[in-house]
């Protein structure tokens, strides 16, 4: 079995995120880059599927030069090889263009499954996996809290607003996973050393067969008109409970007309 797993480098979850004044793009320099937390679950799921069924895991990322750290992290967790799409013309891509690049990187390489995280922690759109499925014409099995493979068939439990749905398809399929699916492993020292020798193919948009006019900021189909920091919230009142904390909250709720 051949499994691709897509990972995105994002600003550290704990860092304050902001947009750049000049072009309204995410300021990726001012914070450490880390693997999107939710993609760790995608890597883990891919590794577990391969450990159970045999085969190979290829990690795919589109991002600036330093996103190679994120590819390496996936390799040190145990993925076998990497594809890093790195090209300055891709900066400022919207979700539509991002999905085109990822679909091209997947196409024609004989993958049975491609696994994504359910969202990125920076833009939080949760659309890229569905868009990639649409582009490839593959089955979409997303928001999975459980993935099972037998023969050429994949079955997942899709988390819904109220419970879950069981969804089944033949491979090849696009899967995205939610965080309750597994517990991602930490890279071992051995894994980190081994990762240094694993192959990473670095590709440009042109090498993927994409027309430069269809990707990047200039080709984006949505644009930021303006943005502003939300005015900081006025500091609230904090009291220490002296046996009347509950009554005090009730008084506050009454002044606010909640009760």
């Amino acid at each position: 079995m051949k499994v691709a797993v897509c990972v995105k480098q994002v600003p550290d979850t704990w860092a304050e995120k902001r947009l750049r004044e000049a072009d309204a793009r995410l300021d990726r320099e001012s914070a450490d880059g880390v693997m999107n937390e939710l993609d760790e679950y995608a890597v883990e799921e891919a590794l577990q599927l391969i450990e159970a069924n045999g085969g190979e895991v290829v990690v795919i990322s589109m991002g600036p030069e330093r996103a190679s750290e994120t590819v390496r992290k996936a390799l040190s967790m145990g993925a076998d090889a990497g594809i890093h799409v790195v090209d300055d013309t891709l900066g400022g891509s919207d979700a539509v263009a991002t999905s085109a690049v990822i679909a091209k990187a997947i196409e024609g390489r004989g993958f049975d499954l491609v696994i994504f995280g359910s969202e990125s922690t920076d833009a939080r759109m949760s659309v890229v996996p569905a868009m990639v499925a649409e582009r490839l014409g593959w089955a979409q099995l997303t928001f999975a809290q459980k993935v099972e493979i037998s023969g050429g068939e994949v079955s997942i439990e899709r988390v819904t607003e109220n419970g879950f749905a069981t969804v089944t398809a033949a491979t090849p399929a696009v899967v995205s996973v939610v965080e309750k699916i597994n517990e991602p492993r930490y890279p071992s020292f051995k894994g980190i050393m081994a990762a240094k020798k694993k192959p990473v193919e670095s590709l440009t948009a042109a090498e993927l067969g994409l027309d430069a006019a269809t990707v990047g900021a200039a080709a984006a189909w949505s644009a930021v008109n303006d943005f502003a920091a939300r005015p900081p919230k006025a500091a609230g009142t904090v009291v220490t409970d002296e046996g009347d904390g509950g009554v005090k909250v009730a008084e506050f709720l009454a002044t606010q007309k909640f009760i």
Partner: protein, 321 residues
């Protein structure tokens, strides 16, 4: 005025509140038409859609559309986009809604904006307001290619009625082979309580690790019930099995934006904040004065939730009797 397509979100045949919010928003852009994907639209559902201004209701009612996830809604919308050239397509910001919007954007060759908290018309340009990075930055954005596909966050726009008589128009859709590749073979519903739905509730009362046990949540539920509120939980509480997963608030749980959010025994980790930061009024009960959740509080009490919360519940009951 052009048509604005609104994808209906329903549960067991009842139109969800988020749809009435989207219809209200759609009226600012043009003439709202509701799009119902699935079998079994009722007269009551038609009436609700009309009450909020849908002059037309497109119904793709083939049983087939409900057998496959996400793709059928995208294909129905794409077909209607080609047919009526709408001003915009508004879709609820649920997992299903966002994914359908994503697929639609690809099919229709259109740009997409997710999680809008407002939409307005500027000349003939549709402008969306997004609240990003946990609510710290407000962005105005526009789709510059194709029909604007915009997903709208629940509880962001107040629904206002504008009654019209909705006329039904059936659409027949032939699903692509790709849309049929994934098949829904079963549904497992989580047990549903009698409380308002988390994402729609005006008041949410949440508990975290500080609640200490499943039994401890009875204190949270009692407060919620005196306020007619929904109950939420932090991941620490859902992971521990004290409260079911579908009530998790945060990055990987539900995003809520109620009028009032009461956080009890929750420290305020960034992933939790991501799901509740845009609540209008925030009340905090936590025994650690240093807990970061106090930074968000309009009103906070440093104290043990097991004495503060029951006293609050009692006081509310007293005042309302």
């Amino acid at each position: 005025m052009g048509e604005v397509l609104v994808l209906v979100d329903e549960v067991d045949g009842t139109v969800k509140k988020s749809t009435t919010e989207l219809l209200t928003a759609a009226r600012r852009l043009g003439n709202p038409s509701a799009v119902w994907v699935g079998p079994g639209i009722s007269d009551a559902a038609m009436a609700t859609l009309g009450e909020f201004g849908a002059t037309k209701v497109y119904v793709a009612g083939d049983a087939d559309v409900a057998k496959h996830p996400v793709a059928p809604a995208a294909e129905v919308l794409a077909q209607l986009v080609a047919q009526v050239s709408p001003v915009a397509v508004l879709v609820p910001s649920t997992a299903d809604g966002k994914e359908a919007a994503g697929r639609l954007a690809i099919r229709a060759g259109a740009g997409i904006i997710t999680d809008a908290v407002d939409v307005t018309l500027d000349g003939d340009r549709v402008v969306a307001t997004q609240s990003v990075f946990g609510g710290s930055t407000i962005v105005h954005s526009t789709v510059t290619h194709g029909v604007p596909v915009i997903t709208v966050r629940g509880n962001a726009i107040a629904p206002e009625a504008a009654p019209v008589t909705a006329t039904r128009e059936d659409v027949s859709v032939s699903l692509s082979e790709a849309a049929r590749k994934a098949t829904i073979t079963g549904h497992t519903a989580a047990v549903k309580g009698g409380r308002p739905e988390l994402t729609e509730a005006q008041v949410v009362v949440s508990g975290g690790r500080g609640v200490g046990s499943a039994e401890g949540f009875s204190v949270i539920e009692a407060l919620a019930d005196t306020l007619g509120a929904a109950v939420g939980a932090s991941r620490a509480a859902t992971d521990a099995g004290w409260y079911p997963h579908q009530y998790q608030v945060g990055q990987t749980g539900k995003t809520v934006s109620p009028q009032l959010y009461i956080a009890n025994g929750i420290s305020g980790a960034i992933q939790h904040r991501a799901g509740m930061q845009t609540s209008k009024t925030i009340v905090v009960v936590n025994k650690d004065a240093e807990a970061p959740i106090f930074e968000l509080a309009d009103y906070g009490v440093v104290g043990d939730l097991f004495s503060v919360v029951p006293q609050l519940t009692q006081e509310i009951a007293k005042r309302s009797s």
